[in-house]
């Protein structure tokens, strides 16, 4: 099994800020649901959509890590 250091570095650095973004989005969504529990049916799909957007950046760096 051969390891590639550059591949590991690419995904490690490229995954930091998307992870932070996903955590912040989830936190704000929890806050909003906590203030108004009956609006959770409208907040949840928007939160999932925003999380998929933020995760896409990490996926781009994952593809590059596979190539290297």
């Amino acid at each position: 099994m051969n390891f590639s250091i550059s591949g590991g570095l690419i995904i490690a650095l490229g995954g930091m800020l998307p992870a932070l973004a996903i955590g912040l989005i989830g936190g704000k969504a929890m806050e909003a649901i906590g203030r108004n529990p009956e609006s959770s049916g409208r907040i949840l799909p928007a939160m999932l959509l925003a999380m998929a957007f933020a995760e896409a950046i990490a996926i781009y760096s994952l593809i590059l890590a596979f190539i290297k």
Binding site: P45, A52, E55, I63, I67
Partner: protein, 248 residues
């Protein structure tokens, strides 16, 4: 054992038949069979199968109606078709036998079936179809003059904004295709790696994760397509009048 390019199984003339192409045909066959079965046995008082299908369609129709108020009849078919096809294609990679049963060539395993959306060609094709359908629908709804005025204008500020819009259209295609491809391909690599460590109870949480990821990615692709269609079919007015008439 995993490669970016899907492996070629045989040739018809000079057209290569790859294993993800065979999986796409399989998903198509399943979907068309389901549609024909439901359409032949439609009853006024529905059975369980027809009831569940109607429930799903109604839920998505209401989501589409809340985003695009009066153009819902044009946008909804695209939304539902993309969603169902991508959902079945994503989940077809989790069936037992897909990506594992194959033959050996040059010492590497060539699987007979490989999930359709784990091939960049499929996802790029889907993204191009979505972008083309959005633009053609926009030209047909608001007219050619309004469509051109979104991208080119005589006002220098709007010219700059129009240039950025052109770049963002290209970015949409790239990001749609790579998001779907990256999620499904990385999921397959994870399943392969975990199964090669210990194949019996270990992959269970990862299989559950892949089920959820397949559902979410199908939903994201379709909802993005629907939002872009809804945005591009509203007339492009001045920024000041647009802000006054928004309903949020």
């Amino acid at each position: 054992m995993f490669s970016f390019q899907s492996e070629v199984l045989f040739h018809i003339g000079s057209f290569k038949i790859t294993n993800s192409l065979i999986d796409t045909l399989l998903v198509d066959t399943v979907l068309i069979t389901l549609c024909v079965i439901i359409a032949k046995n439609i009853k006024i008082i529905p059975g369980i199968f027809q009831n569940s299908v109607e429930m799903v369609i109604q839920m998505f129709y209401e989501i589409t109606e809340s985003v695009a108020q009066e153009k819902v009849k044009k946008i909804f078919p695209y939304f539902m078709s993309f969603f169902i096809f991508i959902l079945f294609a994503n989940w077809s990679g989790l069936l037992p036998g897909v990506n594992s049963i194959g033959f050996f060539k040059n010492g590497k395993l060539v699987p007979i079936l490989r999930s359709a959306t784990s091939d960049l060609n499929t996802t790029l094709g889907l993204a191009l179809v979505s972008a083309l359908a959005t633009h053609i629908m926009s030209i047909k709804t608001v007219g050619l003059k309004d469509y051109i005025s979104r991208y080119f204008s005589f006002n220098p500020i709007n010219l700059f904004i129009g240039f950025l819009e052109i770049i963002s259209e290209i970015t949409k295609i790239v990001s749609l295709s790579f998001r779907l491809f990256g999620n499904i391909f990385a999921g397959e690599v994870v399943l392969l790696t975990v199964s090669s460590i210990f194949a019996f109870l270990f992959p269970l949480p990862f299989l559950l994760l892949e089920v959820i990821v397949g559902l979410v990615q199908a939903l994201v692709f379709s909802m993005l397509t629907m939002s872009f269609m809804a945005i591009l079919t509203t007339p492009h007015r001045d920024i000041s009048t647009n802000a006054n008439s928004e309903k949020y």
